[in-house]
C-alpha cells in the first residue's frame, strides 16, 4: 500500500517540478546576462500550448517517429520511480537498482536517437550521431561513478543509498563530496548543457539534443521536452539526495511530506542556480575536446574508490 502511495506522490511531484527546474535554470542564465528572461512558468504554458496542437510527420518517417515520444516518456517515468525525491519507501523487489536506472535512461536516449535518424533529415542524423558518440565516451565514466557510490555506500539500491546518507551525520564520507563533482559532470552531459551542448542555440549545425527532436511538433514535442525535463530532475535528485538528503520523509505523514517537498524545492533551487551560473561562465567546448571533461569525471570517481579502499 505504501508503495502505491509512493508511486503516486513521486510521479506527481516529478511531473510538477520538472518544468519549473528547467525554467529556473533559464532564469538564472538570463539574469547572468543582464536580461529579465522569460517568466518562470513559461515552460508550463509552452507544454500546454504544444499539447493543444496537432502532430505533423515527415512523409519520410516511419513508425519509429510516432512511437518514440511515448517510449521516451515511459522509460523516463519508469526511471523516476527509482529516485525518491520526497519520500523513501520500504524496499520493493526490482525497484531502485542504480544500474537498471541508468539503462532505463539509456533506452529513452536510444529511441530518441532512432527518431532523430528516422525522418532522414541531415540535422537529425547529425544530432543522433553526436549524441551516441558522446554517450559512448561518457558511459565508462558514468559506470565508474555509480560503482564508486555503490562502493562507498555498499548498496546498489538508490532508495537505500538515500536512507543511508540520511541516517548518518553530515558528510558521513568525504569521498561523497569528491564523487559529487563527477556526478555534476554526468548531470551536465546527460542534460545536454554547456559546455557539452547548448540548449538555447538556433544554430542547427552545432546542435546535439535539439537536432534529434527538430522534426517533432505538437504533443509529441511536448512529450519529448517533458521527458528531458524529468531526466534532468532525476539526475539532480540523485545528486541532491546523496549529498544533502536532509528533509527526506521516511514515514507517510502529510506534514513530513510537505516539509520534504519544500526542502527538495529549496535544494534544487540552489542546484539550479549553480547549473545556471556554471553554464554562464563557460563557452561551449570544442566537440572533440569533450572527452577531457569526461575523463575528469572518470578520474575523480576512480580516486573515490582508491581513497575508500585506503581509508
Amino acid at each position: 500500500m505504501s508503495f502505491i502511495i509512493y508511486v503516486l506522490i513521486n510521479t506527481v511531484f516529478v511531473l510538477l517540478i520538472s518544468p519549473l527546474l528547467m525554467g529556473l535554470i533559464k532564469k538564472v542564465k538570463a539574469l547572468a546576462q543582464g536580461r529579465r528572461g522569460v517568466p518562470l512558468l513559461q515552460i508550463y504554458f509552452l507544454l500546454a500550448k504544444l499539447l493543444k496542437k496537432e502532430n505533423v510527420y515527415s512523409t519520410n518517417s516511419s513508425f519509429i517517429t510516432r512511437i518514440a515520444p511515448y517510449l521516451n516518456i515511459t522509460f523516463t517515468a519508469a526511471a523516476s520511480l527509482f529516485v525518491p525525491l520526497v519520500f523513501i519507501p520500504d524496499p520493493v523487489a526490482g525497484i531502485g537498482n542504480v544500474i537498471l536506472f541508468l539503462y532505463l535512461l539509456v533506452m529513452a536516449k536510444f529511441f530518441m536517437a532512432l527518431a532523430g535518424l528516422d525522418a532522414g533529415s541531415a540535422f537529425g542524423g547529425m544530432g543522433s550521431s553526436r549524441e551516441m558518440s558522446i554517450s559512448a565516451v561518457i558511459e565508462p565514466g558514468v559506470i565508474i561513478v555509480v560503482a564508486a557510490i555503490a562502493f562507498v555506500l555498499k548498496t546498489y539500491n538508490i532508495p537505500q543509498m538515500f536512507a543511508l546518507t540520511l541516517a548518518s551525520p553530515i558528510f558521513n564520507s568525504a569521498t561523497l563530496l569528491l564523487i559529487s563533482i563527477s556526478l555534476f559532470i554526468v548531470l551536465i552531459t546527460e542534460t545536454s548543457r554547456v559546455p557539452v551542448d547548448n540548449p538555447e542555440t538556433h544554430l542547427e549545425l552545432t546542435m546535439v539534443h535539439e537536432a534529434m527532436i527538430l522534426e517533432y511538433t505538437g504533443p509529441n514535442l511536448a512529450l519529448m521536452e517533458m521527458s528531458h525535463a524529468i531526466k534532468q530532475t532525476l539526475l539532480m535528485g540523485l545528486l541532491i539526495n546523496i549529498l544533502f538528503p536532509w528533509g527526506l520523509a521516511t514515514a507517510l505523514t502529510p506534514g513530513g511530506l510537505l516539509l520534504a517537498a519544500l526542502m527538495f524545492f529549496v535544494k534544487s533551487l540552489v542546484l539550479a542556480v549553480i547549473i545556471g551560473l556554471f553554464e554562464s561562465l563557460t563557452a561551449k567546448w570544442r566537440l572533440f575536446a569533450l572527452p577531457k571533461l569526461f575523463m575528469l569525471a572518470y578520474a575523480l570517481a576512480f580516486l573515490t574508490i582508491v581513497v575508500e579502499l585506503l581509508v
Partner: protein, 527 residues
C-alpha cells in the same frame, strides 16, 4: 605615344598599364584594349602586385552599341585604379579565371546579366539567376524592362537546367545541405557541406536568394533618387554604400563637398563600422555559447544605434546623404551627446573585451579555427578585416584615400594567424581606432554649410569605400542626367569564397563561428 596609338596591335600593353598606375594626375584611368591585348596583359602582369577587383559590363557605353566590359585593376601601393575597357565584338570572350580565380563569380555574374559566354571557364553554372528563370533571360540587357514581378513559371518557358553542386565522393563521405531557410532569423543562403564524420571535406556556398534587381532599379533614376537605392544594397552598410554612390556622382559632376559635410560623413562612416563590428563580436560570443560575453557588446551596439538615430534620424544612418553633401545638418545636441558618450564607450568596451580575453573556453574555441591562408587574399580578392586578420596590410581608406581620410592618421590593424581569434582581435582594435577617430574629428567641426547644390553632369566614375566588411566598389554612369548603369561590388561578394576555403579541415559545429567571424551580407552579395 603616337606610335602606340597608330600601331595598337603591337604596343606594350603591360607597360602602358603600369604607367597608368604611376600617373599622379588621375585616380582612375580607362584603357581600351583588344581581346588579344587583354589576354596578353593578364599573362604579363604580376599576380602578386596586381589584382582584379571587379568585372562588369555596360551596354551602349559612350554611344557605342553593344556591350563594353570593364576589368577593374588595383595595384599594390598605388592609389590609382585602372579600368581595362573592352568593347565586345561578339557574345564570347576568353575567361580569365585560370589567371585570377576571383574572376569566377565576376564572369558568371556578367554571363547571367548579359548573356555573354566566357570561353574555357571552369564553371559556367548560373550565378544569380536560379532555376526559376527561363533560358535566354538576361535582366541586365537594356532590352529587358524592369516592370513588376517576374516569374519564369508564368512566362510559360521551361526553367533552366537544375543547379549541379560539386560532388565529393569516397567511403564515408556524406553531404549536409543547410538552408536557404535557417533555424535562426538570418538571411537565406545555401551551404552544401561534404563531410567525413565531423570533418569538413568541402563546402559549396550558393547565395543569391535575395535578388532585388538593385542595379536595374537604379537605371533611369535621377542621382538624387538613387541614393535610397544605394542605401538598400545591404541594411547595415547603408552609410558606406550611399557615401560611395554620392562620391561617384560628385566626381562626375565635379562637386566640392563642404568640409563640415565630410566631417559628419566620416563620423557616420566610422559609427557604422563600430556598430557593425560590435554586432560581429557579440555574434561570435553567442556562437561559442558564451552569451555573458556577448551581452556587453549587444548593449554597446544598441547605444551606438541610438546615437545614430540622434545623428541622422535613422538607427542605420539612412536618408541623410545626398550628392553634394548632406540632406540636412546634424543637430548640435547629437554632436555634444556623442562627444560625451565616447570616453565612457571606450572604457566599457575595453572591459567587455577583457572579459572575453579572460575566458579560456571562449578563446580556445576561436584559436586556430577557420584559418584563411594569406596566399588566398590576392587571388580571391579577399578584403577588409578578413584579409587584415591574415596579415594583409590593406585598407581602402589608406590605399585609395577619399573624403577626410587623407588628413586622418589611420593605423591599419593586422593579425598574423588568420583564424577566428585574429579576426576578433582586428575588429576589436578597429572599434577602438574608429572611436578615437571620431573623438579627434568632433572638436574640429565648425559651423558652415553641409551641402553644395548639385548640378548633375553626364559621365562615369568609379569610387571605393572601406565599409565595415571591406572594400566596396561602385561605378556610376550618368547619361542624360539619369543613371544609365550602376554597378556595385561589395566586400561580401568576394569574401564568401574565403569561407569555402576557411572551413576545410574544421569540424561542422565550428562552421557557424567561422561564418560569424566574417559576418558577410547576403543581401549585399545579391543586388
Amino acid at each position: 605615344m603616337k606610335k602606340q596609338k597608330t600601331d595598337s596591335e603591337n604596343r606594350n600593353i603591360a607597360g602602358i598599364c603600369l604607367s597608368l598606375f604611376e600617373d599622379k594626375t588621375k585616380k582612375e584611368a580607362y584603357l581600351p584594349v583588344s581581346e588579344k591585348e587583354l589576354t596578353d596583359l593578364f599573362h604579363q602582369l604580376d599576380k602578386k602586385e596586381i589584382g582584379l577587383i571587379s568585372l562588369f559590363g555596360a551596354e551602349n557605353f559612350n554611344g557605342a552599341p553593344g556591350l563594353t566590359l570593364f576589368y577593374v585593376l588595383e595595384k599594390k601601393d598605388s592609389p590609382n585604379i585602372v579600368l581595362l575597357e573592352h568593347k565586345l565584338a561578339s557574345g564570347e570572350i576568353a575567361s580569365l579565371v585560370s589567371r585570377f580565380p576571383a574572376a569566377g563569380w565576376f564572369e558568371r555574374e556578367v554571363q547571367d546579366g548579359f548573356g555573354i559566354t566566357f570561353l574555357n571557364a571552369f564553371d559556367t553554372r548560373r550565378l544569380f539567376l536560379h532555376e526559376v528563370y527561363p533560358d535566354g533571360f538576361h535582366p541586365m540587357l537594356k532590352s529587358f524592362r524592369n516592370t513588376g514581378c517576374f516569374s519564369g513559371r508564368e512566362s510559360g518557358k521551361l526553367p533552366g537546367a537544375p543547379y549541379k553542386f560539386k560532388r565529393f565522393e569516397g567511403e564515408g563521405v556524406y553531404e549536409i545541405p543547410v538552408g536557404p531557410v535557417h533555424a535562426g532569423i538570418i538571411e537565406p543562403g545555401h551551404f552544401r557541406f561534404s563531410v567525413i564524420g565531423e570533418t569538413v571535406l568541402g563546402l559549396e556556398i550558393r547565395m543569391f536568394y535575395k535578388h532585388r534587381g538593385i542595379e536595374k532599379l537604379a537605371e533611369g533614376k535621377s542621382p538624387a533618387d538613387c541614393v535610397a537605392v544605394a542605401e538598400a544594397i545591404s541594411g547595415d552598410e547603408s552609410m558606406s554604400n550611399a557615401a560611395a554612390f554620392c562620391m561617384a556622382v560628385e566626381r562626375i559632376s565635379a562637386l566640392a563637398v563642404p568640409n563640415r559635410a565630410w566631417q559628419l560623413r566620416t563620423i557616420m562612416l566610422e559609427l557604422e563600422r563600430i556598430y557593425s563590428h560590435l554586432g560581429d563580436l557579440a555574434g561570435m560570443m553567442v556562437d561559442v555559447a558564451y552569451p555573458v560575453g556577448a551581452v556587453n557588446f549587444f548593449n554597446l551596439r544598441e547605444e551606438i544605434l541610438r546615437h545614430n538615430k540622434n545623428f541622422s534620424g535613422s538607427r542605420f544612418l539612412k536618408g541623410i546623404l545626398c550628392p553634394g553633401g548632406l540632406k540636412k545638418d546634424v543637430p548640435a545636441p547629437a554632436l555634444t551627446a556623442l562627444a560625451a558618450y565616447l570616453p565612457e564607450f571606450t572604457r566599457r568596451f575595453q572591459k567587455a573585451v577583457d572579459l572575453v580575453y579572460h575566458s579560456p573556453s571562449a578563446i580556445d574555441r576561436m584559436e586556430t579555427t577557420g584559418i584563411i591562408n594569406e596566399k588566398l587574399i590576392r587571388p580571391l580578392n579577399i578584403t577588409g578585416p578578413a584579409a587584415r586578420a591574415s596579415g594583409a596590410i590593406i585598407d581602402t581608406r589608406v590605399d585609395h584615400p577619399y573624403g577626410l581620410y587623407p588628413s586622418l592618421n589611420i593605423h591599419i590593424v593586422t593579425g598574423a594567424k588568420g583564424d577566428v581569434l585574429s579576426r576578433f582581435n582586428v575588429k576589436a582594435e578597429e572599434i577602438r581606432n574608429s572611436a578615437a577617430m571620431i573623438q579627434a574629428i568632433l572638436p574640429e567641426i565648425k559651423d558652415g554649410p553641409v551641402r553644395t547644390d548639385a548640378v548633375i553632369k553626364d559621365g562615369y566614375a568609379l569610387t571605393m569605400v572601406e565599409a565595415a566588411r571591406g572594400q566596396s566598389v561602385h561605378w556610376v554612369y550618368i547619361k542624360d542626367g539619369v543613371i544609365s548603369r550602376y554597378k556595385v561590388r561589395t566586400a561580401s561578394f568576394c569574401n564568401w569564397q574565403a569561407i569555402e576555403h576557411a572551413v576545410i579541415g574544421n569540424i561542422v559545429p565550428d562552421f557557424p563561428l567561422i561564418n560569424k567571424s566574417l559576418n558577410l551580407s547576403y543581401a549585399g552579395t545579391d543586388l
